[in-house]
Symmetry: C2
Subunit: 300 residues, 2 copies
Amino acid sequence: MILRDLGEFNLIKRLSRRIKLSACVVKGIGDDAAVLRYKKDRHLLFTTDMLIEGRHFLKSSGGYLIGKKSMSVNVSDIAAMGGIPLAAVISLGVPPSLSLDFVDGLYRGIREIAGKFKIDLVGGDTVRSKKIVINIALTGEVEKASLVLRNGARPGDVIFVTGAIGGSLNKRHLNFTPRVKEAGFLVKSYKIHSMIDVSDGLIADLGHILESSRAGAVIHEKDIPISRDAKNFKTAIVDGEDFELIFTVSNRTADRLIKKWPFRTRLSKIGHICKDCKCLCLISKDNKKQKQKIKGYAHF
Amino acid sequence: MILRDLGEFNLIKRLSRRIKLSACVVKGIGDDAAVLRYKKDRHLLFTTDMLIEGRHFLKSSGGYLIGKKSMSVNVSDIAAMGGIPLAAVISLGVPPSLSLDFVDGLYRGIREIAGKFKIDLVGGDTVRSKKIVINIALTGEVEKASLVLRNGARPGDVIFVTGAIGGSLNKRHLNFTPRVKEAGFLVKSYKIHSMIDVSDGLIADLGHILESSRAGAVIHEKDIPISRDAKNFKTAIVDGEDFELIFTVSNRTADRLIKKWPFRTRLSKIGHICKDCKCLCLISKDNKKQKQKIKGYAHF
Protein backbone atom coordinates (compact mmCIF):
# COMPACT_ATOMS: atom_id res chain seq x y z
CA MET A 1 0.00 0.00 0.00
CA ILE A 2 1.27 3.48 -0.82
CA LEU A 3 0.51 6.83 0.82
CA ARG A 4 -1.69 8.05 -2.02
CA ASP A 5 -4.14 5.18 -1.34
CA LEU A 6 -4.31 5.99 2.35
CA GLY A 7 -4.62 9.78 2.07
CA GLU A 8 -3.01 12.49 4.20
CA PHE A 9 -5.61 12.69 6.96
CA ASN A 10 -5.79 8.92 7.40
CA LEU A 11 -1.99 8.81 7.61
CA ILE A 12 -2.01 11.40 10.41
CA LYS A 13 -4.67 9.41 12.27
CA ARG A 14 -2.69 6.21 11.81
CA LEU A 15 0.51 7.75 13.14
CA SER A 16 -1.21 9.48 16.08
CA ARG A 17 -2.86 6.33 17.35
CA ARG A 18 0.40 4.66 18.34
CA ILE A 19 1.70 7.52 20.45
CA LYS A 20 1.76 7.53 24.25
CA LEU A 21 1.97 10.88 25.99
CA SER A 22 3.17 12.00 29.41
CA ALA A 23 1.29 14.15 31.91
CA CYS A 24 3.14 17.22 30.56
CA VAL A 25 0.92 17.21 27.48
CA VAL A 26 -2.42 19.03 27.72
CA LYS A 27 -3.20 18.47 24.01
CA GLY A 28 -1.06 16.53 21.54
CA ILE A 29 -1.57 15.90 17.82
CA GLY A 30 -4.90 17.05 16.40
CA ASP A 31 -5.18 20.78 16.95
CA ASP A 32 -3.55 23.88 15.42
CA ALA A 33 -0.73 23.63 17.98
CA ALA A 34 0.27 21.29 20.78
CA VAL A 35 -0.43 22.45 24.34
CA LEU A 36 2.14 21.68 27.06
CA ARG A 37 2.32 22.39 30.78
CA TYR A 38 4.42 25.50 31.34
CA LYS A 39 3.68 27.98 34.13
CA LYS A 40 1.07 28.36 36.86
CA ASP A 41 -1.27 30.50 34.78
CA ARG A 42 -0.09 29.70 31.24
CA HIS A 43 0.42 26.83 28.83
CA LEU A 44 3.20 26.51 26.27
CA LEU A 45 2.11 26.13 22.61
CA PHE A 46 4.24 24.35 20.01
CA THR A 47 3.64 24.11 16.26
CA THR A 48 5.53 23.49 13.02
CA ASP A 49 4.96 23.96 9.28
CA MET A 50 6.94 22.79 6.27
CA LEU A 51 6.78 24.76 3.02
CA ILE A 52 8.14 23.26 -0.19
CA GLU A 53 8.96 24.98 -3.48
CA GLY A 54 6.43 24.22 -6.21
CA ARG A 55 3.82 23.19 -3.67
CA HIS A 56 3.40 26.06 -1.20
CA PHE A 57 5.18 28.71 -3.22
CA LEU A 58 6.91 29.36 -6.52
CA LYS A 59 10.49 30.58 -6.47
CA SER A 60 9.42 33.36 -8.83
CA SER A 61 7.38 34.94 -6.03
CA GLY A 62 10.68 36.06 -4.52
CA GLY A 63 12.30 35.39 -1.17
CA TYR A 64 10.60 38.22 0.72
CA LEU A 65 6.99 37.04 0.30
CA ILE A 66 7.97 33.40 0.79
CA GLY A 67 9.72 34.35 4.04
CA LYS A 68 6.64 36.23 5.23
CA LYS A 69 4.39 33.26 4.45
CA SER A 70 6.64 30.70 6.13
CA MET A 71 6.50 32.62 9.40
CA SER A 72 2.85 33.75 9.15
CA VAL A 73 1.40 30.25 8.73
CA ASN A 74 2.91 29.28 12.08
CA VAL A 75 1.75 32.48 13.78
CA SER A 76 -1.76 31.73 12.51
CA ASP A 77 -1.67 28.34 14.27
CA ILE A 78 -0.74 29.98 17.59
CA ALA A 79 -3.50 32.59 17.13
CA ALA A 80 -6.09 29.85 16.54
CA MET A 81 -5.32 28.49 20.04
CA GLY A 82 -5.89 31.92 21.62
CA GLY A 83 -2.17 32.43 22.23
CA ILE A 84 0.70 34.71 21.34
CA PRO A 85 3.91 33.55 19.65
CA LEU A 86 7.27 33.48 21.46
CA ALA A 87 10.30 31.93 19.73
CA ALA A 88 11.06 30.24 16.40
CA VAL A 89 13.70 27.96 14.90
CA ILE A 90 14.11 27.95 11.13
CA SER A 91 15.35 25.09 8.94
CA LEU A 92 16.28 26.00 5.42
CA GLY A 93 17.02 23.59 2.58
CA VAL A 94 18.51 25.42 -0.40
CA PRO A 95 20.45 24.69 -3.60
CA PRO A 96 24.01 26.10 -3.51
CA SER A 97 23.22 27.89 -6.78
CA LEU A 98 20.54 30.02 -5.11
CA SER A 99 21.29 33.73 -5.11
CA LEU A 100 22.22 35.44 -1.89
CA ASP A 101 19.63 38.10 -2.78
CA PHE A 102 16.88 35.49 -2.60
CA VAL A 103 17.98 34.28 0.85
CA ASP A 104 18.45 37.84 2.12
CA GLY A 105 14.88 38.57 0.95
CA LEU A 106 13.60 35.40 2.58
CA TYR A 107 15.08 36.34 5.95
CA ARG A 108 13.88 39.94 5.56
CA GLY A 109 10.32 38.54 5.20
CA ILE A 110 10.81 36.23 8.19
CA ARG A 111 12.26 39.05 10.32
CA GLU A 112 9.43 41.40 9.36
CA ILE A 113 6.73 39.02 10.65
CA ALA A 114 8.89 38.11 13.66
CA GLY A 115 9.30 41.78 14.50
CA LYS A 116 5.60 42.54 14.08
CA PHE A 117 4.60 39.80 16.52
CA LYS A 118 7.65 40.09 18.83
CA ILE A 119 8.94 36.61 18.00
CA ASP A 120 12.53 35.73 18.88
CA LEU A 121 14.43 33.96 16.07
CA VAL A 122 16.66 31.71 18.15
CA GLY A 123 18.13 29.03 15.94
CA GLY A 124 17.91 26.85 12.90
CA ASP A 125 19.56 24.55 10.45
CA THR A 126 20.78 25.04 6.89
CA VAL A 127 21.15 22.12 4.50
CA ARG A 128 21.64 21.58 0.81
CA SER A 129 18.52 20.69 -1.13
CA LYS A 130 17.53 20.64 -4.81
CA LYS A 131 14.17 22.29 -4.09
CA ILE A 132 13.83 25.11 -1.57
CA VAL A 133 12.35 23.78 1.70
CA ILE A 134 11.54 25.98 4.70
CA ASN A 135 10.47 24.54 8.03
CA ILE A 136 9.68 26.80 10.94
CA ALA A 137 8.82 25.55 14.41
CA LEU A 138 7.27 28.10 16.74
CA THR A 139 6.52 28.18 20.45
CA GLY A 140 3.86 30.40 21.99
CA GLU A 141 2.03 30.85 25.23
CA VAL A 142 -1.61 31.08 26.18
CA GLU A 143 -3.29 31.98 29.46
CA LYS A 144 -5.01 28.85 30.70
CA ALA A 145 -8.37 30.64 30.74
CA SER A 146 -7.88 31.75 27.12
CA LEU A 147 -7.02 28.38 25.58
CA VAL A 148 -9.41 27.35 22.79
CA LEU A 149 -9.35 23.90 21.21
CA ARG A 150 -11.16 22.50 18.18
CA ASN A 151 -13.24 20.15 20.25
CA GLY A 152 -15.47 22.50 22.24
CA ALA A 153 -18.28 23.29 19.77
CA ARG A 154 -21.71 22.81 21.39
CA PRO A 155 -25.15 22.30 19.86
CA GLY A 156 -26.74 25.66 19.23
CA ASP A 157 -23.39 27.49 18.90
CA VAL A 158 -23.16 30.19 16.26
CA ILE A 159 -20.35 29.70 13.71
CA PHE A 160 -18.31 32.75 12.73
CA VAL A 161 -15.57 33.31 10.18
CA THR A 162 -13.25 36.33 9.92
CA GLY A 163 -12.37 38.03 6.62
CA ALA A 164 -13.37 36.57 3.25
CA ILE A 165 -12.42 33.19 1.87
CA GLY A 166 -11.37 31.61 -1.42
CA GLY A 167 -8.90 32.30 -4.22
CA SER A 168 -6.05 32.87 -1.80
CA LEU A 169 -3.60 31.22 -4.22
CA ASN A 170 -3.92 34.26 -6.52
CA LYS A 171 -1.70 36.18 -4.14
CA ARG A 172 -3.08 36.47 -0.61
CA HIS A 173 -1.57 33.16 0.62
CA LEU A 174 1.87 34.80 0.46
CA ASN A 175 0.95 38.05 2.12
CA PHE A 176 -1.72 37.73 4.77
CA THR A 177 -1.99 39.00 8.33
CA PRO A 178 -2.35 36.23 10.90
CA ARG A 179 -5.39 37.01 13.07
CA VAL A 180 -3.48 37.30 16.36
CA LYS A 181 -5.13 40.61 17.31
CA GLU A 182 -8.64 39.36 16.56
CA ALA A 183 -8.09 36.03 18.34
CA GLY A 184 -6.62 37.85 21.35
CA PHE A 185 -9.69 40.07 21.60
CA LEU A 186 -12.03 37.09 21.26
CA VAL A 187 -10.46 34.90 23.94
CA LYS A 188 -10.04 37.78 26.41
CA SER A 189 -13.58 39.14 26.02
CA TYR A 190 -15.77 36.09 25.42
CA LYS A 191 -16.09 32.39 26.06
CA ILE A 192 -15.00 30.95 22.69
CA HIS A 193 -16.09 27.30 22.48
CA SER A 194 -13.96 26.16 19.54
CA MET A 195 -11.57 27.75 17.03
CA ILE A 196 -9.38 26.78 14.05
CA ASP A 197 -7.57 28.64 11.29
CA VAL A 198 -8.56 28.03 7.67
CA SER A 199 -5.61 26.28 6.06
CA ASP A 200 -7.23 23.24 4.39
CA GLY A 201 -10.37 25.14 3.29
CA LEU A 202 -13.56 26.34 4.99
CA ILE A 203 -15.40 23.02 4.62
CA ALA A 204 -12.43 20.87 5.71
CA ASP A 205 -11.50 23.05 8.67
CA LEU A 206 -15.07 23.46 9.91
CA GLY A 207 -15.14 19.69 9.40
CA HIS A 208 -12.15 19.35 11.77
CA ILE A 209 -14.10 21.27 14.44
CA LEU A 210 -17.17 19.07 13.90
CA GLU A 211 -15.19 15.84 13.98
CA SER A 212 -13.31 16.84 17.16
CA SER A 213 -16.51 18.08 18.81
CA ARG A 214 -18.60 15.12 17.56
CA ALA A 215 -21.14 17.57 16.21
CA GLY A 216 -22.84 18.61 12.97
CA ALA A 217 -23.53 22.02 11.47
CA VAL A 218 -25.72 23.96 9.07
CA ILE A 219 -24.16 26.82 7.11
CA HIS A 220 -25.75 29.25 4.66
CA GLU A 221 -24.32 30.11 1.24
CA LYS A 222 -25.78 33.62 1.46
CA ASP A 223 -23.84 34.33 4.67
CA ILE A 224 -20.44 32.97 3.67
CA PRO A 225 -18.08 35.84 2.79
CA ILE A 226 -16.37 35.08 -0.52
CA SER A 227 -13.21 36.92 -1.52
CA ARG A 228 -13.19 38.76 -4.86
CA ASP A 229 -10.09 36.65 -5.66
CA ALA A 230 -12.18 33.47 -5.65
CA LYS A 231 -13.24 31.83 -8.91
CA ASN A 232 -16.69 30.98 -7.56
CA PHE A 233 -18.49 29.91 -4.40
CA LYS A 234 -17.95 26.21 -4.97
CA THR A 235 -14.16 26.47 -5.18
CA ALA A 236 -13.90 29.19 -2.51
CA ILE A 237 -15.16 26.93 0.26
CA VAL A 238 -12.51 24.29 -0.45
CA ASP A 239 -9.59 26.43 -1.70
CA GLY A 240 -7.63 26.61 1.55
CA GLU A 241 -4.72 28.80 2.74
CA ASP A 242 -7.10 31.62 3.74
CA PHE A 243 -5.68 31.76 7.26
CA GLU A 244 -8.87 33.28 8.59
CA LEU A 245 -10.42 32.11 11.86
CA ILE A 246 -13.47 29.89 12.20
CA PHE A 247 -14.88 29.87 15.73
CA THR A 248 -18.07 29.04 17.59
CA VAL A 249 -19.77 30.76 20.53
CA SER A 250 -23.11 30.51 22.29
CA ASN A 251 -26.09 32.33 20.80
CA ARG A 252 -26.04 34.94 23.55
CA THR A 253 -22.33 35.63 23.13
CA ALA A 254 -22.84 35.94 19.38
CA ASP A 255 -25.24 38.87 19.76
CA ARG A 256 -22.92 40.72 22.11
CA LEU A 257 -19.90 40.02 19.93
CA ILE A 258 -21.47 41.38 16.76
CA LYS A 259 -22.25 44.67 18.53
CA LYS A 260 -18.80 45.03 20.08
CA TRP A 261 -16.52 43.81 17.23
CA PRO A 262 -13.88 46.58 17.10
CA PHE A 263 -11.89 45.61 13.98
CA ARG A 264 -12.09 46.50 10.29
CA THR A 265 -11.58 42.79 9.61
CA ARG A 266 -14.94 41.47 8.45
CA LEU A 267 -16.84 39.17 10.83
CA SER A 268 -19.54 36.87 9.44
CA LYS A 269 -22.07 34.60 11.12
CA ILE A 270 -22.25 31.69 8.68
CA GLY A 271 -24.39 29.11 10.48
CA HIS A 272 -24.77 27.11 13.64
CA ILE A 273 -23.85 23.83 15.30
CA CYS A 274 -26.69 21.28 15.08
CA LYS A 275 -28.50 19.64 17.92
CA ASP A 276 -29.13 16.33 16.18
CA CYS A 277 -27.32 15.85 12.88
CA LYS A 278 -23.67 14.75 12.71
CA CYS A 279 -23.07 16.06 9.20
CA LEU A 280 -22.24 19.39 7.59
CA CYS A 281 -25.17 20.82 5.61
CA LEU A 282 -24.99 23.78 3.26
CA ILE A 283 -28.20 25.73 2.54
CA SER A 284 -27.85 27.15 -0.98
CA LYS A 285 -29.12 30.56 -2.06
CA ASP A 286 -32.22 28.91 -3.56
CA ASN A 287 -32.83 27.26 -0.20
CA LYS A 288 -31.75 23.74 -1.10
CA LYS A 289 -30.04 21.60 1.52
CA GLN A 290 -26.76 20.00 0.37
CA LYS A 291 -24.89 17.55 2.51
CA GLN A 292 -21.15 18.36 2.24
CA LYS A 293 -18.38 15.85 1.89
CA ILE A 294 -15.84 17.12 4.36
CA LYS A 295 -12.91 17.54 2.05
CA GLY A 296 -10.35 20.22 1.42
CA TYR A 297 -6.77 20.32 0.37
CA ALA A 298 -4.99 17.03 1.10
CA HIS A 299 -1.36 16.57 0.10
CA PHE A 300 -1.92 12.97 -1.00
CA MET B 1 26.49 36.26 -5.58
CA ILE B 2 25.27 32.71 -4.91
CA LEU B 3 25.28 30.67 -1.70
CA ARG B 4 28.11 28.39 -2.84
CA ASP B 5 30.47 31.40 -2.97
CA LEU B 6 29.52 32.52 0.52
CA GLY B 7 29.60 29.10 2.24
CA GLU B 8 27.25 27.68 4.84
CA PHE B 9 28.96 29.05 7.96
CA ASN B 10 29.27 32.57 6.53
CA LEU B 11 25.58 32.46 5.56
CA ILE B 12 24.61 31.57 9.14
CA LYS B 13 26.79 34.42 10.46
CA ARG B 14 25.26 36.84 7.96
CA LEU B 15 21.69 35.89 8.89
CA SER B 16 22.38 35.96 12.65
CA ARG B 17 23.84 39.46 12.62
CA ARG B 18 20.55 41.15 11.72
CA ILE B 19 18.49 39.56 14.47
CA LYS B 20 17.37 41.43 17.59
CA LEU B 21 16.39 39.35 20.61
CA SER B 22 14.18 39.95 23.63
CA ALA B 23 15.11 39.45 27.27
CA CYS B 24 13.48 35.99 27.13
CA VAL B 25 16.48 34.65 25.23
CA VAL B 26 19.46 33.45 27.27
CA LYS B 27 21.32 32.18 24.17
CA GLY B 28 20.12 32.50 20.56
CA ILE B 29 21.72 31.25 17.33
CA GLY B 30 25.22 29.83 17.68
CA ASP B 31 25.04 26.87 20.04
CA ASP B 32 23.69 23.32 19.82
CA ALA B 33 20.27 24.55 21.00
CA ALA B 34 18.70 27.89 21.88
CA VAL B 35 18.27 28.67 25.58
CA LEU B 36 15.09 30.48 26.72
CA ARG B 37 13.81 31.67 30.09
CA TYR B 38 11.40 29.08 31.47
CA LYS B 39 11.14 28.35 35.21
CA LYS B 40 12.82 29.57 38.38
CA ASP B 41 15.49 26.88 38.38
CA ARG B 42 15.44 25.72 34.75
CA HIS B 43 15.85 27.01 31.20
CA LEU B 44 13.95 25.81 28.13
CA LEU B 45 16.04 24.44 25.25
CA PHE B 46 14.88 24.55 21.62
CA THR B 47 16.55 22.97 18.58
CA THR B 48 15.72 21.78 15.08
CA ASP B 49 17.29 19.59 12.38
CA MET B 50 16.34 18.99 8.77
CA LEU B 51 17.27 15.69 7.09
CA ILE B 52 17.02 15.31 3.32
CA GLU B 53 17.04 12.13 1.22
CA GLY B 54 20.28 11.66 -0.68
CA ARG B 55 22.14 14.01 1.66
CA HIS B 56 21.60 12.76 5.22
CA PHE B 57 20.28 9.32 4.35
CA LEU B 58 19.53 7.02 1.44
CA LYS B 59 16.00 5.71 1.07
CA SER B 60 17.48 2.22 0.78
CA SER B 61 18.52 2.36 4.46
CA GLY B 62 14.84 1.89 5.30
CA GLY B 63 12.39 3.98 7.27
CA TYR B 64 13.26 2.58 10.71
CA LEU B 65 16.92 3.66 10.81
CA ILE B 66 16.12 7.00 9.14
CA GLY B 67 13.45 7.64 11.79
CA LYS B 68 15.92 6.82 14.57
CA LYS B 69 18.51 9.18 13.12
CA SER B 70 16.07 12.05 12.61
CA MET B 71 15.13 12.00 16.29
CA SER B 72 18.60 11.17 17.66
CA VAL B 73 20.37 14.12 16.01
CA ASN B 74 18.05 16.49 17.88
CA VAL B 75 18.43 14.63 21.18
CA SER B 76 22.20 14.91 20.76
CA ASP B 77 21.86 18.72 20.51
CA ILE B 78 19.90 18.85 23.80
CA ALA B 79 22.47 16.58 25.47
CA ALA B 80 25.32 18.87 24.39
CA MET B 81 23.70 21.70 26.39
CA GLY B 82 23.55 19.53 29.53
CA GLY B 83 19.77 19.12 29.21
CA ILE B 84 17.12 16.47 28.80
CA PRO B 85 14.61 16.41 25.92
CA LEU B 86 10.87 17.10 26.43
CA ALA B 87 8.60 17.37 23.37
CA ALA B 88 8.95 17.15 19.59
CA VAL B 89 7.03 18.20 16.49
CA ILE B 90 7.71 16.32 13.26
CA SER B 91 7.38 17.64 9.69
CA LEU B 92 7.41 15.05 6.98
CA GLY B 93 7.71 15.71 3.25
CA VAL B 94 7.00 12.53 1.26
CA PRO B 95 6.12 11.45 -2.28
CA PRO B 96 2.58 9.99 -2.54
CA SER B 97 4.13 6.91 -4.14
CA LEU B 98 6.06 6.08 -0.96
CA SER B 99 5.06 2.80 0.66
CA LEU B 100 3.11 2.83 3.88
CA ASP B 101 5.63 0.27 5.19
CA PHE B 102 8.41 2.84 4.84
CA VAL B 103 6.46 5.50 6.77
CA ASP B 104 5.39 2.99 9.43
CA GLY B 105 9.08 2.07 9.85
CA LEU B 106 10.07 5.71 10.00
CA TYR B 107 7.63 6.41 12.83
CA ARG B 108 8.63 3.21 14.59
CA GLY B 109 12.21 4.51 14.63
CA ILE B 110 11.08 7.94 15.82
CA ARG B 111 8.87 6.43 18.55
CA GLU B 112 11.67 4.13 19.71
CA ILE B 113 14.06 7.04 20.38
CA ALA B 114 11.21 9.15 21.79
CA GLY B 115 10.29 6.33 24.18
CA LYS B 116 13.89 5.75 25.25
CA PHE B 117 14.36 9.40 26.22
CA LYS B 118 10.76 10.05 27.39
CA ILE B 119 10.03 12.55 24.63
CA ASP B 120 6.42 13.48 23.90
CA LEU B 121 5.54 13.49 20.18
CA VAL B 122 2.98 16.29 20.16
CA GLY B 123 2.42 17.43 16.60
CA GLY B 124 3.67 17.87 13.09
CA ASP B 125 2.97 18.54 9.47
CA THR B 126 2.77 16.26 6.44
CA VAL B 127 3.34 17.60 2.94
CA ARG B 128 3.96 16.23 -0.53
CA SER B 129 7.56 16.30 -1.66
CA LYS B 130 9.56 14.62 -4.44
CA LYS B 131 12.43 13.79 -2.08
CA ILE B 132 11.83 12.61 1.48
CA VAL B 133 12.41 15.47 3.95
CA ILE B 134 12.15 15.08 7.73
CA ASN B 135 12.33 18.05 10.06
CA ILE B 136 12.10 17.56 13.80
CA ALA B 137 12.01 20.41 16.29
CA LEU B 138 12.64 19.46 19.89
CA THR B 139 12.30 21.26 23.22
CA GLY B 140 14.22 20.29 26.31
CA GLU B 141 15.02 21.63 29.73
CA VAL B 142 18.20 22.17 31.66
CA GLU B 143 18.83 23.12 35.27
CA LYS B 144 20.36 26.59 35.27
CA ALA B 145 23.41 25.30 37.13
CA SER B 146 23.89 22.52 34.55
CA LEU B 147 23.76 24.63 31.38
CA VAL B 148 26.92 24.35 29.27
CA LEU B 149 27.58 26.57 26.25
CA ARG B 150 30.27 26.43 23.60
CA ASN B 151 31.86 29.65 24.74
CA GLY B 152 33.25 28.76 28.17
CA ALA B 153 36.56 27.07 27.32
CA ARG B 154 39.41 28.54 29.41
CA PRO B 155 43.19 28.51 28.88
CA GLY B 156 44.63 25.39 30.48
CA ASP B 157 41.38 23.39 30.12
CA VAL B 158 41.71 19.74 29.20
CA ILE B 159 39.79 18.70 26.05
CA PHE B 160 37.89 15.40 26.16
CA VAL B 161 35.96 13.46 23.56
CA THR B 162 33.58 10.54 24.14
CA GLY B 163 33.54 7.40 21.99
CA ALA B 164 35.58 7.09 18.81
CA ILE B 165 35.33 9.25 15.74
CA GLY B 166 35.40 8.94 11.96
CA GLY B 167 33.75 6.81 9.28
CA SER B 168 30.30 7.27 10.75
CA LEU B 169 28.79 7.32 7.26
CA ASN B 170 29.52 3.59 6.94
CA LYS B 171 26.58 2.92 9.22
CA ARG B 172 26.87 4.50 12.65
CA HIS B 173 25.31 7.84 11.61
CA LEU B 174 21.94 6.09 11.30
CA ASN B 175 22.11 4.15 14.53
CA PHE B 176 23.92 5.94 17.32
CA THR B 177 23.07 6.59 20.95
CA PRO B 178 22.87 10.28 21.81
CA ARG B 179 25.11 10.92 24.84
CA VAL B 180 22.32 12.11 27.15
CA LYS B 181 23.38 9.83 30.02
CA GLU B 182 27.05 10.81 29.78
CA ALA B 183 26.26 14.54 29.47
CA GLY B 184 23.87 14.32 32.41
CA PHE B 185 26.56 12.74 34.58
CA LEU B 186 29.12 15.32 33.51
CA VAL B 187 27.01 18.43 34.21
CA LYS B 188 25.69 17.10 37.53
CA SER B 189 29.07 15.99 38.89
CA TYR B 190 31.58 18.52 37.53
CA LYS B 191 32.00 22.06 36.33
CA ILE B 192 32.02 21.58 32.55
CA HIS B 193 33.38 24.74 30.90
CA SER B 194 32.28 24.13 27.31
CA MET B 195 30.60 21.35 25.34
CA ILE B 196 29.42 20.56 21.78
CA ASP B 197 28.33 17.46 19.88
CA VAL B 198 30.35 16.30 16.89
CA SER B 199 28.13 16.81 13.86
CA ASP B 200 30.40 18.75 11.46
CA GLY B 201 33.55 16.79 12.39
CA LEU B 202 36.03 16.84 15.30
CA ILE B 203 38.14 19.68 13.88
CA ALA B 204 35.18 21.85 12.87
CA ASP B 205 33.28 21.34 16.12
CA LEU B 206 36.31 21.85 18.35
CA GLY B 207 36.80 24.90 16.11
CA HIS B 208 33.29 26.12 17.07
CA ILE B 209 34.25 25.90 20.76
CA LEU B 210 37.50 27.77 20.10
CA GLU B 211 35.84 30.48 18.03
CA SER B 212 33.06 31.02 20.60
CA SER B 213 35.54 30.97 23.49
CA ARG B 214 38.14 33.12 21.61
CA ALA B 215 40.76 30.51 22.41
CA GLY B 216 43.21 28.19 20.74
CA ALA B 217 44.06 24.53 21.37
CA VAL B 218 46.69 21.84 20.96
CA ILE B 219 45.54 18.27 20.30
CA HIS B 220 47.57 15.09 19.91
CA GLU B 221 47.10 12.55 17.11
CA LYS B 222 48.20 9.71 19.43
CA ASP B 223 45.35 10.52 21.87
CA ILE B 224 42.48 10.96 19.40
CA PRO B 225 40.24 7.84 19.41
CA ILE B 226 39.64 6.75 15.83
CA SER B 227 36.77 4.42 14.99
CA ARG B 228 37.56 1.20 13.15
CA ASP B 229 34.98 2.40 10.57
CA ALA B 230 37.22 5.34 9.62
CA LYS B 231 39.30 5.24 6.43
CA ASN B 232 42.26 6.91 8.11
CA PHE B 233 43.17 9.52 10.72
CA LYS B 234 43.09 12.44 8.28
CA THR B 235 39.51 11.78 7.15
CA ALA B 236 38.28 10.72 10.60
CA ILE B 237 38.87 14.13 12.15
CA VAL B 238 36.75 15.89 9.51
CA ASP B 239 34.15 13.18 8.68
CA GLY B 240 31.33 14.46 10.88
CA GLU B 241 28.06 12.92 12.11
CA ASP B 242 29.82 11.15 14.98
CA PHE B 243 27.43 12.63 17.56
CA GLU B 244 29.99 12.20 20.30
CA LEU B 245 30.62 14.95 22.88
CA ILE B 246 33.62 17.27 22.94
CA PHE B 247 33.97 19.12 26.23
CA THR B 248 36.54 21.00 28.27
CA VAL B 249 37.19 21.07 32.03
CA SER B 250 39.91 22.40 34.31
CA ASN B 251 43.05 20.33 34.81
CA ARG B 252 42.00 19.40 38.36
CA THR B 253 38.54 18.31 37.29
CA ALA B 254 40.07 16.25 34.48
CA ASP B 255 42.03 14.08 36.91
CA ARG B 256 39.00 13.42 39.12
CA LEU B 257 36.78 12.75 36.10
CA ILE B 258 39.08 10.12 34.60
CA LYS B 259 39.09 8.22 37.91
CA LYS B 260 35.32 8.38 38.36
CA TRP B 261 34.04 7.86 34.78
CA PRO B 262 31.34 5.18 35.25
CA PHE B 263 30.41 4.35 31.63
CA ARG B 264 31.59 1.81 29.09
CA THR B 265 31.60 4.67 26.56
CA ARG B 266 35.23 5.50 25.93
CA LEU B 267 36.53 8.80 27.31
CA SER B 268 39.68 10.33 25.80
CA LYS B 269 41.78 13.30 26.81
CA ILE B 270 42.88 14.65 23.43
CA GLY B 271 44.62 17.94 24.26
CA HIS B 272 44.23 21.26 25.99
CA ILE B 273 43.13 24.84 25.50
CA CYS B 274 46.09 27.17 24.88
CA LYS B 275 47.14 30.11 26.95
CA ASP B 276 48.49 32.19 24.07
CA CYS B 277 47.72 30.86 20.60
CA LYS B 278 44.39 31.45 18.89
CA CYS B 279 44.71 28.56 16.45
CA LEU B 280 44.14 24.81 16.51
CA CYS B 281 47.38 22.82 16.40
CA LEU B 282 47.67 19.10 15.88
CA ILE B 283 50.78 17.29 17.15
CA SER B 284 51.34 14.33 14.85
CA LYS B 285 52.61 10.92 15.99
CA ASP B 286 56.13 11.85 14.82
CA ASN B 287 55.88 14.99 16.98
CA LYS B 288 55.37 17.53 14.20
CA LYS B 289 53.15 20.53 14.83
CA GLN B 290 50.47 21.08 12.16
CA LYS B 291 48.26 24.15 12.19
CA GLN B 292 44.71 23.00 11.29
CA LYS B 293 42.34 24.81 8.99
CA ILE B 294 39.10 24.72 10.92
CA LYS B 295 36.93 23.00 8.37
CA GLY B 296 34.49 20.16 8.43
CA TYR B 297 31.35 19.27 6.61
CA ALA B 298 29.70 22.36 5.10
CA HIS B 299 26.54 21.99 3.00
CA PHE B 300 27.68 24.61 0.50
